[in-house]
Amino acid sequence: MKRSFPWKRAALALFVSVLVAAGCAKKQTVKSEGTAGGAGTQAAAPAASAPGTAEVKESAVKEAPPAPAAAAPAEQPMLAAKAAEAGVAVTEEKPSQFDDVRFDFDKSVLREDGRKTTQGVAEYLKKNPRVKLLIEGHCDERGTSEYNMALGERRAASVMNYLVSLGIPKAVLSTVSYGKEKPLDPGHNEEAWAKNRRAHFVLQ
């Protein structure tokens, strides 16, 4: 016979019949009680957690209790008040008779100028052995907060380690990092950033 096999029709027929078969096999009958009786209530329900979605389901939404004011830690009133003051006080810049130690971007190693400043602090501490010193570590505003928090801590530790190497007992020294949360200079240029990459000395 000269006529070629009708591939096109056969393929299309096969294809369509498979589709119809698949459609029939996967059709779900869904309960429709309580809903508007509709024609062909066939739910296009994705397989998974929502059963019987053509049926209207009940959900009670629980009322969340009203949020009280921020709970203070359970302490004696006097201690709580003192802690609260200390908490607010950390946001204030504390004056210092010493210069800040400055750092390069993303670095915590002491430069020559930083070493000189720290040597001056060491001498003061040796003359005043009952004084305690807090070393704050800070970063400029660039970069992200969590990494800068750790970097500030490393800067403070770097200065503390140098003081210890100069003979200051560790017991009088402590560190805290404020990351980039407490810039000395609020500007947004290299000059401000250089001032903000610092360790700051606070006598206690």
Binding site: A11, V20, G23, G38, P46, K57, S59, G87, A150, K182
Partner: protein, 496 residues
Amino acid sequence: MKRSSSHITHQASTAASPGESAALLSVGLLDVASTTPPGPPGRAPWILARLHRLASNLGGKFGPGAAAVAALCAFLSFPMPADALLYIDINAPGGKRLPIAVADFAATPGDPSLSRGIPKILSDDLALTDLFDLVPPTAHIETVTAAHFSGKPLSFPGWKMIGAEAVVIGNVESRGGNLSIEMRLYDATQGTLLVGRRYSGTARQARSIAHRFANEIVYTFTGVRGVFGTEIAFSARDGKSKGKEIFVVGMDGQDLRKITSNRSFNLFPRWSPDGQWLAYTSYRTGAPAVYLRNVSTGAEKEILRFGGAKAPGGFSPDGVWVYAGVSQGGNSDIYRVRVVGGAVEKVVEGWGLDVSPSPSPDGRRIAFVSDRGGSPQVYVKTIGQAGETRVSQGTGYATSPSWSPAGDRIAYTARSGGRFAVFTVSPDGSDPREVASAPDADCEDPSFAPDGRSIVYTYRKRGYSALKIISSDGRRQRTLVSGLGDAGSPAWSPGR
């Protein structure tokens, strides 16, 4: 018999399963016309397939017969979602939006804040997804009444005539301060009910109830639950205070509220997997500590006391552990702390600064930041196994990883061309893509939405800061919060 037909592009959501999406991408889109006349129930749908794209390529070369056979093979090579007649292609660029009408609700007693207010919340939510075209209420012909919820059918031809392929109706009964809201989603072409829910709650919960149903609508069409009703926690300056407080805002920008109020530094809020608790760092006693606060009740406990600088990261998916970076002696390592009992385990240690742990959705791995290589970069590590893989490439500074709850991408901040931009990368380090950047501003601190399809991040430009939400493909974005000083460190809550 003339059959009406509508054309919806079908593609299963890539969130369905990895193998499935790969098969779909390789064979192109199957354009299906559903042609079920609204007849007696039980009649099988008659589906005609128009072969799109793939057929046009192959047909040209080998003839339409080959195209039909190829499509048949393609069809058989992946499972169609069961019963998915209306389905939205959420990943096709410039894909067709589904025209949907949200009718004014029936309300007893009549109250426009309910009959108009609740549909508006639904419409606004659906509009945020960019998957729907909302047919405006001014075009609606039929008025929905309580009768439509006790047997009276909608007049679907009227809805189809104004262009709606799906219709949402609702009935609100309010008594005292309590509401009963029934909402239904119909396929207007077939006249079938797709999903219905009846909620009861207080009047104040109307918004939350609307969000839940919007999530049902998105789930019905895409197979992925919507994220309406979820929230973003962040840290920002409060007025003139020099400190920073923790805030929470709805993902739609509504319901902004302050969580802490101690005027100290309150930083790095991170959600527990059940969405009930926030871990955060506070300096309110004068030194940094990590607390766990219940956002509903305000109950709080301190969970991390040792070390100096510290910041919570993510939780394990079972809620048992919270991960944190903690500095001691100037070195920072990653620990995890039992939420109940406080036992501590070290997870990552080394000479570098190790910070910012972000667990994978299955909890078996964490992404974190380390500068052990000389500059901060993002690494991935399997918990309990030695070694880690660097996943950030081509940049001198990469921080702030956020592992997508969908599992397939990790977002992070990286320095690019002199400023910071948000990237995503595969957990094995391949296929990095820039998602959010601005020529003269920094885009930082990304956090994924629970469906992995959006990212909230901090936009900062010389003192101005805002939180923005961008789609994971980088195509659409909107501002979430602006005007609060130094807003940052956003964290998107789990699904609700």
